[in-house]
């Protein structure tokens, strides 16, 4: 169970990433954020976002055109 859930379904790039950054600020260090998105570029975008910000992408999965990510805040 994530500490926070962000429903970014229907949002165009780059809004899912911007919303995730904002939501992560509300997550305690060590906590997790679940993001649900439908942007086709989201899988690669969230991989890159986590790599550049140093947060952990704990899980990335797809169910048809819906993508779910679990991000652990590291700092």
């Amino acid at each position: 169970m994530a500490d926070q859930v962000l429903d970014a379904k229907g949002l165009n790039c780059p809004l899912p990433i911007l919303r995730a950054k904002k939501a992560l600020k509300e997550v305690p260090v060590g906590g997790t954020l679940q993001v649900i998105a439908t942007d086709p570029g989201a899988v690669k975008d969230f991989e890159a976002f986590c790599r550049t910000t140093g947060n952990d992408l704990v899980e990335s999965k797809a169910d048809g055109k819906v993508f779910e990510f679990l991000i652990k805040r590291t700092a």
Binding site: N12, C13, P14, L15, I17, L18, K21, K22, K25, A48, F49, T52, T53, G54
Partner: protein
């Protein structure tokens, strides 16, 4: 690994280029990359305070699509980048002079001030440079 700062020279007033600049700047800023945008020429006019979207954005086929599909407004993206990361916008002092505009003609809380091109180019020496 810390990324090089990103410097964007934004001269165009075209909707499509403003959109791209705002997307690049906001994404880089929330990805913990320092970004500075130097706004000059027609791009300055697009930042006129309280301008309606129909007056602010001019472009081609893709501009119409961006509006129809309700893509995020470039001004909103710039503001979110500033709120969530290290994103500075500078208004070109020459362009303001040519327009006879003061900073108060531009969107509130959008710019860090007016700047000359020499200073911006000097600051940008160590970063990645993009022109739109």
């Amino acid at each position: 690994m810390e990324s090089k700062p990103l410097y964007i020279l934004l001269c165009s007033g075209e909707h499509e280029k403003l959109q791209m600049a705002a997307m690049i700047a906001s994404v880089a800023a929330v990805s913990d990359r320092a970004v500075e945008v130097f706004v000059s020429m027609n791009a300055v006019v697009a930042f006129a305070k309280d301008a309606p979207a129909a007056e602010r954005y001019h472009g081609g086929t893709f501009s119409k699509l961006l509006t129809e599909k309700r893509a995020p407004d470039p001004m909103v993206l710039f503001r979110q980048g500033r709120e969530l990361g290290s994103l500075k916008l500078w208004a070109c002092s020459m362009a303001l002079d040519v327009l006879a505009w003061e900073m108060d003609r531009l969107e509130d809380d959008m710019f860090d001030g007016a700047l000359g091109l020499t200073k911006f180019l000097s600051d940008a020496e160590t970063g990645q440079f993009i022109t739109l």
